[in-house]
Amino acid sequence: MALEVSAQASAPIPLDVAFRVAPGALLALVGHSGSGKTTLLRMIAGLWTPGQAHVAVDGRTWLDTGAQVNLPPHRRRVGLVFQNYALFPHMSAAQNVMAAMDQPDPVEAGRILDLVNLQGLGARHPAQLSGGQQQRVALARALARRPQALLLDEPFSAVDRATREKLYAEIIALRAHLNMPVVLVTHDVNEAQLLADRMVVIEGGRVLSQGTVAEVMGDATALRAMGIRELAAMLPAKVAEHLPDGLTRLDAPSGPLFLPHVGGPPGTRVRVRIMAHEVIVARTRPEALSAQNILAGTVAQIVPGQGPAVMVHVAVGGHEIIARITRRAADQLALRPGDPVHAIVKSMSVARDHVTPAGSDIGV
């Protein structure tokens, strides 16, 4: 049931894109506003048709400009969560969900609302719901369509940060129930890295880079487009112990990590996003240092960037941490691939919304 998309157009924006999303996988389309990512999503949904395009799901063609096939949106099994949700204001939450069903079924609507943690709110109208609750209704409505492709258009941009963190965790948990390809449009690299399996970076309607999140994070071109300060690595970890001083000790393949309080009982699996510009590299294990996390590893590769910086990928326990340091520092340390080094991470440099629950592992 993979989703296959390709598109070429010259207006309203130039477009030259092709990608594939496996069933159950989440692909993030990342780009600045005006990059064409939302336009692409609208094309998959059937709300816009470019000059030349092909969209197929599960072998069934939704759009083929060459063969004059162009199913209208209501003939495509697509679930779309709009940026501003576009809930029907005259319907209750449950009615909104039922509006997307072939056979409206209040019991099924209730089940889907439970799934997105809206127990007991089915009778409320959109105006009586908070932004986060409206987002959940929009998601429930998209799921009620039993979509062959789930499309999320900047679904977290209209809620406050605390709500967003909660919604991230919910989406990650929900993914265990989703077996269709999911496309997430976002300009937020953190969001993409936390939620997606694969990323497609778009600029000016063109694909700059695509691949697994780790691959894209290692691609200098993609990083330049996304903003180099977004460069980060993801480390899997497990909550080991909540310490009385407010820190949490996490077990990671790289060794223990001490971070500001991380939610969840011991044993909770999480993913930690470590920003590259926060990481220090040392040749020898430093002593009398305030930083709490000193991870021993080896230099995997050194990627030169534009300007004074280089990206040092450090292999620690089977994963990579990326350190963005000056070329001058790399020269002073005479770093070469294979050299043993220590990557140093301040506990306080890891923001709270950079630690998220690890979802079920879905192969891609």
Binding site: H74, L80, A99
Partner: protein
């Protein structure tokens, strides 16, 4: 009090509303959502009856429907009666001069629906017809009702066109507005006063309903 005239006026207004309701929904929706060449011209044509003096419009309709016109001829051949000075002729004239009242408010009602909601409807699997019924009409209905209320009230009060096309045949074309004029001509001011008061009452309640609905359409979509 000329009850026959009041009954005739209500019947005329009822037929006009019945015919213009689907026109107002379909054409109002069409003008609200579609962009096409010459749209401004079409909109201006729809508005024309609003600015034309009723006697002028009535004159042209009289000429168009008259026995010597192709339309009048065809009607005579088909139905064996003439179109002018008949109730049917009045209904047709009434439909034409009410076009702006029937279409404009409905068009505004549809235009007030965010494009995203209509897109959401189709992404929910709704066919255009189903989206019209489940999403568009429930959101645009205050506009449609306003259109019908205005049409109804306007038909009750129309004078110039009715006189030109229909004359003043009791039970056939003498509406309450014509009847008021006739009573005044006959120095029967008491009857004229009563009938005028009835029309005032109907008009005031019409405006009240219209305002209440416009307030509601604003509140709904905010």
């Amino acid at each position: 009090m000329d009850w026959t005239a009041l009954e005739l006026s209500l019947r005329l207004a009822g037929w006009t509303v019945a015919i213009l309701l689907p026109v107002s929904i379909l054409f109002g929706r069409f003008l609200a959502f579609r962009q096409f060449r010459g749209k401004a011209v079409v909109e201006a044509l729809v508005m024309l009856p609003l600015v034309l003096p009723p006697t002028v419009l009535g004159f042209y309709l009289l000429v168009t429907f008259g026995r010597n016109s192709p339309i009048g001829q065809l009607w005579q051949d088909l139905f064996g009666s003439q179109l002018v000075f008949s109730f049917t002729g009045l209904v047709i004239a009434s439909v034409i001069f009410n076009l702006p009242f029937a279409i404009q408010p409905a068009q505004r009602g549809f235009q007030a629906i965010p494009a995203e909601l209509r897109e959401a409807a189709s992404c929910c699997g709704m066919s255009p017809l189903r989206a019209l019924w489940k999403v568009e009409l429930p959101l645009a209905w205050p506009g449609v009702v306003t259109a019908m209320v205005l049409t109804f009230a306007h038909t009750l009060g129309e004078f110039g066109i009715v006189l030109m096309v229909g004359g003043s045949i009791p039970g056939e074309t003498r509406t309450i507005a014509i009847s008021i004029y006739d009573r005044v001509q006959a120095f029967d001011t008491d009857s004229a006063a009563i009938m005028s008061a009835v029309l005032v009452a109907i008009s005031v309640s019409t405006i009240a309903v219209t305002f209440a609905l416009s307030a509601r359409i604003g509140k709904r979509l905010s």
